[in-house]
Subunit: 330 residues, 2 copies
């Protein structure tokens, strides 16, 4: 096992040596070929200029959105801490907790954001709302906004040989955070209003973020956690990169921060871990649109990331005893 | 260690499940974007049509080559078995043996190929010659032929963002074989005369081909092996894919065969293991030109292949005892 540990240490140091510790800003839109260079290296990059001329960038504000969405209901994630899909301790046992989801009128959701913005210095409310239904909502509840942005990104369609699997609108404020996680998607994240801050870790750093299997729970409409018996989620990172971890492997991680400003597009490559904060803009709104493209499972990349994860499991299980004590005090 | 073994087994089966067991033939030349799709998947492919209009394809034959190369000397690799850069047992110990290299006139080398072709049914001569100086010889000893083919391949220059590191001419006959090996290059292999047969194994199958460290030797001008004291070569495959190996890992390999015909171009991705046979054409000549482009060390690919190799070393060392006995009888 020690030799696997050494090999994993070598992997992290070789990878860090050969790859940037920052996310470059590149004038866009890229050509399909230029974009594919980033994809093949699985390297994040921020493109400027991609959103020039988009109605979303030019027109979206509190008033415009209310007008267009008048009479529409949307799904809103509701949590006590602004923590959708995160790890929460329930009776001393860590659970993967999903938000409560409620349908409400767009205008009442915007009223909520506005009133919170007017009173931003106060402590957060006991109920935090985030419109983040990640089910291709641009063609569902936000369909009246669809003409304000392209249905797909031509450079990515061409480089990835298909159109996006989902396009999602995200509307929230500074109270909400997305906990560290990864997606099986090539992600193009387009900032419309406000700002987002990402903390990124490469797919090879699974051992540093201690992926684990967690029992599943959900918040109810009172903000209480209800365990979903018999359900579990696999390979979910347990380390919060803002807190860190006293273990050896977190010390070998190399988290990368990037700020995404209005009008910028982050290419977040498949399987990168990301934690996301947001800062609302002048009207109390942080708004983004993201394009999810299916990742490519062919070639060696996906198979090798799975392999690294398999090897990491063994090394983690060596440290397991301490880990249990530290995270699940009884 | 058993868990690393299981992880390696999982890696091979996942990779084989997600990737073709054959090399597709695709009409070319590809666009840079199409070519980069193959590169990013590290998947071999044969392109037809790339060499249309090349003087090399239209004009090269015994007579033309002799005329152009009149008065020129070339480096020729000379071995007793047609086995440049291969593993040979010396006093019961396997060595990595390099060919003897001699400079001779191009016309006398062509006389050698012709006379062998006239008498092809006989047993091979005790001295087998192969013009295979892999040092960018098109711009050196074969410079008078350089105008018969492009100095680089436009689609690859554009996809890989640079021109080739070396362009090599290969001239030999059916007596010569290149033993299984890999290169740190993206390789575009262009068949001009005769035919080549490749046996390919992916970079993840290092454990299947039992890479080892070997002491180095060279043939002298008499075909005798001279050990080069203190020299060794690392990570050289020890399994001959035509013979195989009784070990567990060879059983999990998935060698892929591909025939490369006159006018076809094989894209042989970086780090793929390849063994190469050749079949001479009508005039006794097998001739090819290859373009070596530097591989990309950024992104996760190179780091992860190194990691797989590191993990494989441990599993191999478990089997080491038997292996020693089998390969190095004393």
């Amino acid at each position: 096992m020690q030799s696997t540990e050494r090999a994993l240490e070598g992997l992290l140091s070789t990878y860090h040596e050969l790859n940037n510790a920052f996310v470059p800003r590149v004038p866009g839109p890229p050509t399909p070929l230029d974009f594919l260079q980033h994809v093949r290296r699985n390297q994040p990059v921020v493109f400027t200029g991609v959103m020039e001329g988009w109605g979303a960038l030019e027109q979206w504000n509190d008033r415009y959105l209310r007008e267009k969405m008048e009479g529409c209901n949307i799904d809103v994630a509701i949590t006590p801490l602004g923590n959708a899909d995160s790890i929460v301790s329930v009776d001393g046992v860590e659970h993967f907790v999903k938000p409560y989801t409620s349908s409400e009128s767009f205008s009442s959701f915007m009223d909520y954001l506005r009133s919170r913005h007017m009173d931003a210095s106060s402590t957060p409310p006991s109920t935090i709302k985030y419109a983040q239904s990640q089910d291709g909502n641009l063609s569902k509840e936000f369909t009246v906004l669809a003409s304000d942005l392209p249905s797909s990104l031509a450079f990515a369609d061409s480089a990835l040989s298909h159109t996006p699997d989902a396009v999602n609108v995200w509307i929230g404020n500074s109270d909400s955070t997305s906990a560290l996680h990864k997606d099986n998607y090539e992600n193009l994240y387009c900032q419309v209003l406000g700002k987002k801050n990402f903390i990124l870790l490469s797919p090879l750093e699974g051992i540093c973020v201690r992926e684990k299997t967690f029992p599943v729970a959900s918040y109810d409409d009172q903000g209480k956690v209800v365990v979903e018996e018999g359900q579990s989620v696999n390979c979910w990172p347990s380390v919060d990169p803002d807190v860190g971890d006293s273990g050896k492997w977190w010390g070998k991680a190399r988290p990368i921060s990037v700020e995404l400003h209005r009008g910028e597009v982050l290419y977040l490559p498949a399987l990168w871990y990301h934690k996301v904060f947001q800062e609302e803009g002048d009207e109390g709104i942080c708004c983004a649109v993201n394009y999810w493209y299916d990742m490519d499972f062919e070639g060696p990349f996906y198979s090798m990331v799975q392999f690294v994860r398999d090897c990491a499991k063994d090394c983690e299980s060596l440290e397991g005893g301490n880990e249990q004590e530290k995270h699940i005090p009884r």
